[in-house]
């Protein structure tokens, strides 16, 4: 909780987050980074599967020690409440009456089944912002579709754009859509809060993860809308054919690559000069973009031959100095070593409440006035006493009874 910090824009906003796995927790995390008091509602009766995701802090397999869980949930507090118990559900409603926002990412109807649907909740908190983010929205023929975050993109057209251009789509191996929707979901909530503050009205946000992600195919969709063309995979080529060369080229070492984007004719001349003007590159038809696009495959093959035995970082620095947009392609370990990300404090070490150190991501947006404090991911139920006793005014005897009954669990 950040109530002592007046420099955070959402201090004073309280959020009950029923989100689980990744997208929902990141909605809460985003609001938490920005100062809201976010309470993830979870239970040992049905442990979130990401709490069992390895690796674990100090290698000890335990639901309070999953490192990726902590990174993705940092900023959420935790209240453990067994929603299978009627009293657990009643307590959830009592808590929501003291919240500004409810977040959930179950399928449509699940919250209704728990007695925590929109009609029930607006009755206890008339100006509530309820945020639901099912895969394909709350209505429509596909509303009950089952997907995982990593395959949700398939129904947006986005997956059809990913590949080497040989007709085979390459699956992105993790759910890009989860953190993307987690962050955009927070925008939706902020918009609804702005509306609430202006009009006094809450609302139930219908956030279709499919529709939000499909925005990313906007330029390709427009080609379909205007020309009836449905794009295919382009490799690393420019999505609108506005730059050439434009791709990823091999460098010296194991799995080392450089990304080069030549966005104008001057940059091409700079690249030609950096290559020491080989005959093929000085061909006059390559001097302008249309000629380079016409010869793109050959151009990329020749460029790859030139980069192949060079050091990725050194070459990137040399090309940058010459005026060419070039960057090394980083792997996961590089992220921790890279001077740029180190200088920006992208990753930070924190001490978990259980005492072990772990590395998670810090404030990935730099704010000149707000002092962002990043806390480690929560232990299950770490905020129980604060919430049930101090916020809801429960006496200790009742609290202990509910703990013993595994309602607070």
């Amino acid at each position: 909780m950040n109530t002592s910090d007046s420099k955070l824009p959402l201090s004073g906003i309280r959020v009950a987050n029923f989100g689980w796995v990744w997208a929902g927790p990141v909605v809460g995390q985003t609001l938490g980074f920005l100062g809201a008091d976010v309470l993830k509602i979870e239970s040992r009766a049905r442990i979130d599967l990401t709490r069992m995701l390895p690796p674990f802090g100090e290698g000890i397999r335990d639901p309070d020690r999953s490192l990726s869980n902590h990174a993705c949930w940092a900023g959420n507090g935790s209240v453990s409440l067994n929603l299978k118990h009627p009293e657990g559900r009643a307590l959830a409603r009592e808590l929501i009456a003291r919240c500004d926002v409810v977040i959930e990412n179950f399928g449509p109807g699940v919250m209704d089944g728990l007695g925590l649907g929109w009609d029930a909740l607006r009755a206890v908190k008339p100006d509530l912002v309820m945020f639901s983010m099912p895969a394909a929205g709350l209505t429509g023929p596909l509303k009950d579709i089952r997907t995982y975050g990593l395959s949700l993109t398939s129904t947006t057209g986005l997956d059809s754009l990913v590949g080497y251009g040989d007709g085979t789509p390459i699956p992105v191996e993790n759910a890009f859509s989860d953190p993307y929707n987690g962050i955009m979901g927070a925008f939706a909530i902020l918009a609804a809060l702005h509306h609430r503050d202006r009009t006094g009205m809450g609302q139930h946000v219908d956030y279709s993860q499919q529709e939000a992600v499909m925005q990313m195919v906007g330029p390709a969709f427009m080609d379909y809308a205007l020309n009836g063309r449905s794009a295919g995979a382009l490799g690393n080529r420019h999505p609108r054919a506005a730059a050439a060369p434009h791709g990823v080229f091999p460098c010296a070492g194991e799995d080392r690559w450089i990304a080069i984007a030549v966005t104008n004719d001057d940059a091409w001349q700079a690249l030609v000069a950096a290559m020491e003007r080989p005959a093929w590159a000085t061909a006059p038809e390559l001097a302008a973009l249309p000629g380079r696009l016409a010869a793109l495959d050959d151009l990329h093959a020749r460029l790859a031959a030139w980069t192949a035995d060079q050091d990725d970082y050194e070459l990137a620095r040399r090309l940058q100095a010459a005026g060419v947009a070039a960057t090394p392609v980083l792997n996961v370990a590089d992220l921790l070593r890279d001077p740029h990300w180190r200088a920006r404090g992208t990753f930070i070490e924190v001490v978990h409440p259980l005492g072990f150190k772990e590395t998670i991501y810090g404030a990935y947006v730099k704010t000149s006035r707000s002092a962002i404090t990043v806390r480690p991911g929560p232990r299950i139920g770490q905020d129980n006493e604060r919430v049930f006793k101090r916020l809801l005014g429960m006496d200790d005897a009742r609290y202990q009874t509910l703990v013993a009954a595994q309602t607070i669990y």
Binding site: P9, A71, I183, M184, A188, S230, T327, V329, V332
Partner: protein, 403 residues
Amino acid sequence: MPPGALHGITVLELGEYVSAPYCAKLFADYGADVVKAEPPRGDPSRTWGPFPGDVPHPERSGTYFFLNTDKRGITLDLSTPRGGELARALAAKVDVVIENHKPGTLASWGLDHASLAALNPGLVLISITPFGQTGPYSDWLGTDLNAFHLSGASSRYCGRPGEAPLEHGTFAADFYGAVTAATWGLAAVYGRVRVGGGQHLDVSCAEAIAATFVGGQNIGGCAQDGRFERRTGVGMPLGAPATILPCKDGHVWMLALEPGQWNGLARVMGNPEWMTVDIFQDMYQRAQNADAIYPLLVEWTMEHGKREIMDRCQAEGVPVTAVFTIAEAAEHPHLAARGYLTEIDHPALGRVRDLGAPFKLPASPGGPTRPAPLLGQHNAEVYGERLGLDGAALDALRRDGVI
């Protein structure tokens, strides 16, 4: 129709290409009053297309149209002293300025945060760049491609081993940075009283992805154990089936991890003998035998169409989906039933189909409802209303090439 949720917020966009324009579009589509200032030659995305019939025309770019709905457009050459002066006067009266120029560019125009904050203490300045305002690469040249590959996302998650790491085939880093900037920026506006004024937000597209997507699931383990993984070309190497497979008319995202899902898939496939083998009842063991399992699944998928596979699997509770082409996604009855797709009239493009609002706010519906502006379309309106400039003053600015 009631006003959009962000009614009352005013934004000045000094953006080009994708990241800042999409960030500003999110504000505009949900009801903020967004003025986009373009150089007299226009946002370069006007040259990108897609154009109807592939005939280039600055007023007919589909990419520009998509990224700039619901905004008003003015022209302004920020690199001239008078242009900088006009921009300062406009920035003095808005809640938010959104820009995506190379770090230092705004300062060279007299529009750095300190100058603007002196005029407008409540201003939220949102700067979106590939690499950020600080750090050793802040003065590097960069595009969406560079940002994505500097994030670690491609090396870890996208492409076949031994082949080049891949991006998404769209401006994935720019969109990610835009969404991040919109969220943090709107929070900064919403919480101005609590924070004690406006501020400058430094958003790096690469950093947003490196932290929240790659960092979220990889960094803790890498820091603790010194181990990390690379792309495999398979959807999920730990469990199976979990990858994209070919079928009769395209591809399907084949996912059947939990026992109920595997059994459901078996029913759809007519309970083939091999699927009942003991070691195949566990997703981890199936992954270890993926080389045997995937060809057997493909034998079946190749006999069926993607819609049929998706419908039959979903009916059995198996989370298999068809890999939709752009056309298939655009024409899907679900999106039509939800009113996700919309049509907007545009003076140069005619009636244009467009993607609708990314999420639904029932009490304060979002756009897009108005087309992207023509170049300088709202010069008279905006300069008149905001700065009190009359026709003669605008003519003079036009003559001097400032607008």
